[in-house]
């Protein structure tokens, strides 16, 4: 008897090959492109400081973190009063901060480590950050709830 059941496609039915292409000769030119980029990056870092007002990265990290704290978490009150965020922030353009955050490798943990804030407040802040990141990973509320139930690192990654 002939089965009318439709064949179910599996991954094994599809050739395992890369079907994307690159422009001809691309990998011959790539090392040169990388070298040029490193060179222009070096020139930029020696002739054009990232922050024209001369902040070092730690100060910039603190300023950026303070901005985040003010805007998002309402934790400002618990920040050590000896730092004057208004004075510090008044010297920095918002664009500079945004640009810095876009280019920095600093994680929230590293930024928090530079701040003199209460441990519990830091935990709250980090928890908020983690929740925001995690929500992006899920396609549906069901998936998110399942993930919450079975543990953070175990489901997606």
């Amino acid at each position: 008897m002939k089965s009318d059941k439709k064949h179910r496609i599996t991954l094994g039915d599809i050739p395992r090959r890369n079907f994307q292409k690159v422009p001809e000769g691309y990998f011959d030119t790539l090392p040169g492109l990388i070298a040029s980029r490193i060179e222009s990056d070096n020139k930029k870092s020696t002739s054009t400081p990232v922050f024209t007002i001369g902040l070092n990265w730690k100060t910039a990290a603190i300023a950026a973190a303070l901005t985040l704290l003010i805007v998002f978490s309402g934790l400002f009150d618990s920040v050590n009063k000896s730092i004057s965020p208004e004075e510090m922030l008044a010297q920095i353009n918002v664009e500079d901060i945004i640009e810095y955050l876009d280019y920095t490798d600093l994680t929230t943990y590293e930024i928090i480590a530079e701040l003199d804030i209460d441990e519990n407040d830091a935990d709250d802040f980090l928890e908020n950050d983690i929740q925001l990141l995690n929500l992006e990973e899920f396609e549906s509320l069901d998936e998110y709830e399942l993930y919450q139930e079975y543990g953070i690192e175990e489901y997606i990654f």
Binding site: P15, N18, Q20, V22, L30, P31, F138, E153, Y155, I156
Partner: protein
């Protein structure tokens, strides 16, 4: 050149430039394809790949031999990739499904790929996965990496990776059989 020899060259200021040239030539294709499969578009992949090697160059002093060179390079590449996608979404203030639509559109319109309907559908199915799961899937399925290698790169347990991959395959096959 083996990675151990390469590392010796990279550690000496006299041979560092040559060592880096060798490193780029050795890893450029692998790095590019990891990125290309994630960002889809060649121009984006080109840009992110260059950025990865700039980062490698800048951070050579920070590399400690407690991990293997390829693991370190792949880790930088995968992080850059995920950051690129996250920034793209954040900069444009668009939800993920719109980024997904944009990537699907790139699959449909890219001049740099061969025509094959079922492979195209597979690419679209892969795009339905969350970024990190997609990355795990690509490393396992296309690059045929072992779970412990992926675990070293992603800093995730082998068990989690197996679960993630298994779930990804189920989702992809479901997509392939729809419509």
């Amino acid at each position: 050149m083996e990675d151990q020899e390469l590392l010796i060259e990279l550690r000496s200021s006299e041979t560092r430039n040559h060592g880096f040239e060798v490193l780029v030539k050795k890893y450029q294709e692998k790095v590019y394809w990891i990125i290309r499969k994630m960002v889809i578009d060649h121009d984006d992949a080109n840009d992110v790949t260059q950025e990865v090697f700039v980062k490698i160059w800048k951070n050579l002093d920070k590399f400690r031999a407690d991990s293997q060179l390829y693991t370190w390079i792949y880790r930088i590449a995968t992080n850059e990739c995920l950051n690129f996608l996250k920034k793209k979404q954040r900069r444009l203030f668009i939800p993920w499904h719109d980024v997904e639509s944009e990537l699907v559109n790139k699959i449909d319109n890219s001049p740099y790929q061969e025509e094959n309907e079922i492979e195209r559908k597979l690419q679209k199915a892969i795009l339905t996965l969350p970024d990190k799961q997609r990355l795990v899937f690509n490393l396992k399925y296309y690059d045929e990496m072992k779970y412990d290698q992926i675990a070293d790169i992603t800093g995730t347990s082998v068990g989690s990776l197996k679960a993630s991959y298994h779930h990804a395959v189920k989702k992809i096959e479901k997509y392939l059989n729809e419509g």
